[in-house]
């Protein structure tokens, strides 16, 4: 295998792709589609980030100064929707498209046509969602969780647009998930048995099953909101015999597995990076597989930990409390396995490893605050405060988003054939690392002190903390522009050429193809020993 990339005519030979925009519109190539997903996710990350800047600007000082409360609510709602469905999930799907075929030695995804569709309906969904912000009366303002009756009785006229856009997002991710499952089941290279599959492939396989199990339930929930609002049904309307609390049960039956959809692929990524830069095999591979599967199964029986304050009977509160705490056992297994992998390894601190280490520490903080929230009696105090906001941003930003950044640093040389700019990378890492903690850590304190979430104004005693939180927020937002510059630079093929293996401790089929990976790979399947 050639070790130096042949970057002059790497993708000119044996492929027949139309030029310009048509190449991207019609492509069925897993690498093209992966790239599309990743760029789309990045753009959505910046759009959702801009909304976060509006939120933090308003919260910089107590009082109302920049935006109307109703617009503020639209910002928190659309920020959440975009980050979950537009940034984190498509980024993981993009990584799956790029890496799963390379990791299992397949020439492409199993269903390339559907792959094209599942990407290209996404921009439409988000155009609909974003355009609703400019309508008379504004966009959705009921929170990303769209609790009834906020989203039914009290919502504005653009709710139908919200519902349709969520339907399309759901269809897109279901198609993506089906594609991943079929690819992994049917296209593994000879000799790649289940227990030889790379962790990223395993975690994505399990994620894909979660997706096809719960995205349809989300589709059902938005459909019920739609018919309650426009067609006179009473699923969630007590006056007509429905029950608004039932909305929360249905939503969180989707919602809790959804948060694991956003973290399991991250676990997979970290399970590749830590061994590479520790120059050791992953400690406890099979326990990692079983832990992932048990997290996925348990995620179906903990949903009501989001509903401790809805007046559930004592036995239900106890059940959901203990079931939730049980999930942290397999999660802990993973953290210990990563640490054990590093133990006595010869560790080097390239950028993917830096992000992976930051992930391990900061995600664990998010896990601990989750455990605190899982304690029913104290959740009565913390529920709907900034403490919850701190919790889910630690698991989602320093968890899911940091893992995606780690993955980009790790595989960018494989995608572009060039090493990233190390100076920019260091700036990006340290600026992000400092600002993200300034942004989210004090939220624990204001939350414990009782500052409610989703409000545009707050009591005076929270002013100092909020000022620092906003400064952290602006700094974190700006730091991501460094990342943007770095990615643009690498994708314009500026930088040191990368070798095929890129990292000297890296193992796996994806490192056996040249860098940049040719347009077509593994047309004859590799043999896995």
């Amino acid at each position: 295998m050639s070790s130096v990339a042949d970057d002059l005519h790497h993708d000119e030979h044996h492929d027949h792709k139309p030029a310009g925009i048509m190449r991207w519109l019609l492509t069925t190539n897993h690498k093209d589609i992966g790239t599309l997903y990743l760029w789309f996710a990045f753009i959505m990350f910046l759009v959702g980030g801009a909304m976060a800047m509006v939120i933090r600007a308003e919260l910089f000082q107590p009082g109302l100064q920049i935006v109307e409360p109703n617009f503020f609510n639209q910002m928190t709602t659309v920020h959440g929707l975009i980050m979950v469905f537009g940034a984190v999930m498509p980024a993981f799907t993009g990584l799956a498209n790029w890496m799963v075929p390379l990791m299992i030695g397949a020439p492409d995804m199993a269903l390339p046509r559907m792959n094209n569709w599942s990407f290209w309906i996404l921009p439409g969904a988000f155009l609909i969602l974003l355009s609703s912000l400019f309508l008379e009366g504004g966009g959705p303002n009921f929170g990303w969780t769209f609790y009834a009756p906020l989203s039914t009785t009290f919502s504005n006229d653009s709710t139908a647009l919200f519902v349709f856009s969520v339907h399309i997002m759901g269809i897109s991710s279901i198609m993506g998930a089906i594609n991943v499952i079929v690819t992994i089941f049917n296209m593994r290279a000879p000799g790649m048995t289940w227990m030889k599959m790379p962790m990223f492939v395993w975690t994505w396989l399990i994620t894909a099953f979660l997706l096809i199990a719960v995205m349809p339930v989300l589709a059902g929930a938005v459909t019920m909101v739609l018919t309650d609002k426009y067609f006179g049904t009473s699923f969630f309307d007590a006056a007509g015999g429905g029950d608004p609390v039932m909305f929360q049960h249905i939503f969180w039956f989707f919602g809790h597995p959804e948060v694991y959809i956003m973290i399991l692929p991250a676990f997979g990524i970290i399970s590749h990076i830590v061994p590479t830069f520790s120059r050791k095999r992953l400690f406890g591979y099979s326990s990692m597989v079983y832990a992932t599967a048990s997290i996925a199964l348990l995620s179906f029986i903990v949903w009501a930990h989001h509903m401790f304050t809805t007046g559930m009977p004592l036995f239900a509160e106890m059940f959901f409390m203990f079931a939730t705490m049980l999930i942290s056992v397999p999660t802990g297994v993973k953290v210990f396995n990563w640490v054990a992998t590093m133990w006595r390894g010869s560790i080097s601190y390239e950028m993917p490893m830096m992000f992976a280490l930051a992930f391990i520490v900061l995600f664990t903080i998010g896990g601990f605050s989750g455990l605190m929230l899982a304690i029913t009696p104290v959740d009565f105090q913390y529920h709907d405060t900034y403490f919850v906001v701190a919790h889910f941003h630690y698991v989602l930003v320093t968890g899911a988003v940091f893992s995606i950044m780690a993955a980009v640093y790790y595989w960018l040389p494989k995608w572009c054939g060039k090493m990233y700019d190390v100076t920019l990378a260091k700036w990006h890492f340290w600026c992000s690392m400092i600002s993200v903690n300034l942004l989210f850590f004090p939220m624990h304190f204001v939350g414990l002190a009782g500052m409610p979430r989703r409000i545009p104004d707050y009591a005076l005693q929270f002013a100092d903390f909020n000022k620092w939180i906003s400064i952290g927020g602006f700094a974190f937002g700006l730091s991501q522009l460094i990342f943007l510059a770095l990615v643009i630079k690498a994708s314009r093929k500026i930088g040191e050429p990368a070798t095929a293996q890129v990292w000297d401790g890296a193992e796996g089929l994806e490192w056996e193809v040249p860098s940049p990976a040719p347009y077509h790979t593994f047309e004859t399947p590799p043999e896995v020993k």
């Binding site: 030695g105 397949a106 020439p107 199993a110 269903l111 039914t152 009785t153 919502s155 504005n156 006229d157 709710t159 279901i174 089906i178 499952i181 079929v182 089941f185 049917n186 296209m187 593994r188 290279a189 000879p190 096809i212 199990a213 719960v214 995205m215 349809p216 339930v217 989300l218 589709a219 059902g220 929930a221 019920m224 609002k229 426009y230 067609f231 006179g232 699923f235 007590a238 006056a239 007509g240 015999g241 029950d243 609390v245 039932m246 049960h249 249905i250 039956f253 007046g311 559930m312 009977p313 239900a316 593994f522 004859t524 399947p525």
Partner: protein, 186 residues
């Protein structure tokens, strides 16, 4: 394994799509499941929407005293005056009692109201038997009309020992528009 037959893929896709459709259906099946589950366990505090019959031979357990509290509230947009004439009452399990609620439609138009009961703690709902309640039906009130609405109930002697106080709250909804066919309620 690398070049799977197309039919292999198709069979798998069909199975997966079946799961997707099944889960979509499951989302809706949760609605009746939830109702049945809550009916049996009483955990969401809903009382029976139809009248119980009172057996005059029911043993009244005079050794126990249960405090029942009554709360009323209006769903936003409902303009009636609505209040419990009895705010709290102490009863013995098994004993039949009647309390009254006052309503008035202060507006110049006819309105139909619907009161929705809810009991807290939820498990007490299973043991609250209403033999007569204005909440069983929609209540039309003409412009300016007022009324006293009775509610007759008894507490099942099986009520768990640890429940000594429970609260029955009524939320009053304006259902004028929906009592026939509902259109846009936005």
């Amino acid at each position: 394994m690398t070049q799977p037959s197309q039919s292999n893929n198709n069979r798998m896709v069909i199975k997966l799509v079946a799961i997707v459709i099944g889960m979509f259906g499951f989302g809706f099946a949760l609605v009746p499941l939830y109702d049945v589950f809550c009916d049996i366990t009483g955990i969401n505090g809903k009382t029976n929407p139809y009248a119980a019959t009172y057996d005059v031979n029911t043993d009244v357990d005079t050794s126990r005293e249960i405090t029942v509290e009554f709360i009323t509230r209006n769903q936003s947009g409902m303009v009636w005056d609505f209040e419990a004439r009895t705010k709290r009452i102490t009863v013995h399990p098994g004993e039949l009692n009647t309390v009254e609620f006052y309503v008035k439609n202060p507006t110049a138009k006819d309105i139909v109201g619907q009161a929705i009961p809810s009991v807290s703690p939820g498990t007490a709902a299973l043991y609250l038997n209403k033999t007569e309640c204005f909440c069983f039906e929609q209540q039309p009130l003409q412009a300016g009309e007022e009324a006293l609405m009775p509610m007759q109930f008894y507490v099942d002697p099986q009520l768990p020992e640890d429940i000594k106080v429970f609260t029955l709250s009524y939320t009053l909804y304006d259902v004028t528009g929906t009592s026939s066919v509902a259109m846009n309620r936005g």
